[in-house]
Amino acid sequence: MPIRTEPMTINLGPQHPSTHGVFRLRVTFDGEEILEVEPIFGYLHRGTEKLAEERNYVQIVTLTDRLDYVSSMINNQAYCIGVEKLLGVEVPLRGQYLRTITAELQRIASHLMGIGFFMQDLGTLGTPLMYCFRTRERILDLFEMLCGARVTVSYMRPGGVFADAPEDFWPALARFMEDWETEFGEIEQLILENEIVLMRCRGVSPLPLETAINCSVSGPVLRASGLAWDWRKMDPYDAYDKVEFDVPTATNGDNYDRFWVRIQEIHQSARIIRQCVEQIEPGEVRLKLPLVLRAEPGAEAYGRVEASKGELAFYLVSDGGISPYRCKIRSPSQINLTVTEHLLVGWKLADMIVTLGSLDINMGEVDR
């Protein structure tokens, strides 16, 4: 005789240690198994798009820092590329290289956070997280050297970066690139092959490629499903067409693949940084633009980059004023959440937390 069970609805969040911010999931369980799931967000909505309509083009850079606050360099870059497309200008070469270097450093930092919190969701007691933070801390130190801030950097400006790197930045970067391998090797040794990690992640919540594409998923999540699509390759911006790198892909699109793709991307980022440091030459870092910019009335631009979480784009429309008429932010974290229901239904509570961790969302970006 089958045991009669009753579904149980739980509100996971907005205050929950592993929803990566103020994210809420209304989940209906049958025992441990998920029957229904509905993502609810908006608890961190700050109206960035509306605020951007009130600020001038340079001031908006400070708003972009606060979108995905663990990868603010890449947000700056996406926005600045949008504005440059709007104005029809091109950044000086050294500025492009500096942007590429900082964006890749930020990608490493962001992926380290992603991996660390993914492991935290798996239930480690903070050890891999602290090792990831150890490396991230050094990247933040480099950022402080560059622009005086660690997290909300505001380093880039439309037309380049605000200032050239100080002289002691380059030896510090070289030192970081030397030590980085061993530090990260330790993390990899600790988690990459760990049997418990494999047991928990292999084959859990697979995302078929068809679904991934139809749900507009981008970034490492899409690449884990098997499509080698990277905007750095396909629509090169800044110095990405001058460097060589591979696009790591996996085939199953399960939790382990998403996590594995992030780890491999960190290696590729390091490769890009090394090439940039070799290729960079002295020169201008910033175009001579007025401090208050104006674009042609009716101009519009879709500035897109491959951010650490996926395709980050700023759709800017100008009416000739000093601030954009419309500034739409295509946030990868939010759109990657479209697949939540597909990924979670039928799996267990513990898997749900891990899957959310493997999507690597950031609420600052989801809610904007």
């Binding site: 908006g42 909505h45 109206g47 509306k50 139809n214 507009s216 699509w229 090169p236 739409k328 295509r330």
Partner: protein, 147 residues
């Protein structure tokens, strides 16, 4: 190997052949669609093998006071090209356009966000309710006349 933007004229010709009276106007990069035909056009854009726009990058809405413009950024992974499709919705009150939810699931949150912040209702979306603001919020804050 990079993506290229699809010319507006080429796209407009293909569209006006396939979906009757769908194209309103076009320029070098963009095609404007008649709002009621959005869903048909979207299905054609995704399913036609030479266009093959499987990936919906984003849906944006811009408030131009007299009309709202919906902007669809599309990408084809296989053909490696992108396109911009727009649609003008005139009026301020009880606006409604067909949803593309059944063509691209990725439109789910974005359409809800457009409804929430701009007040354009999407017909055929299964879960058309506010997304970042709470239920019962008065007005649509991204409109230019919202103070």
């Amino acid at each position: 190997m990079t993506v290229k933007a699809m010319a507006g004229q080429e796209l407009a010709e293909r569209l006006s052949q396939a979906v009757q009276e769908s194209v309103e106007r076009w320029d070098t990069t963009t095609v404007w669609i008649d709002p009621p035909r959005i869903n048909d056009v979207a299905r054609f854009l995704r399913e036609d093998p030479s266009l093959d726009f499987q990936f919906l990058n984003s849906i944006s809405a811009v408030d131009y006071i007299e009309y709202f413009e919906l902007v669809y950024h599309l990408t084809s992974f296989e053909r490696q090209h992108t396109a911009v499709v727009k649609s003008r919705v005139y009026g301020r009150e009880s606006l409604s356009v067909p949803s593309v939810y059944d063509v691209w699931r990725g439109a789910d949150f974005q359409e809800r966000e457009v409804w929430d912040l701009m007040g354009i209702h999407f017909e055929g979306h299964p879960n058309m309710k506010r997304i970042v603001l709470w239920e019962g919020f008065d007005g649509h804050p991204l409109r230019k006349d919202y103070l």
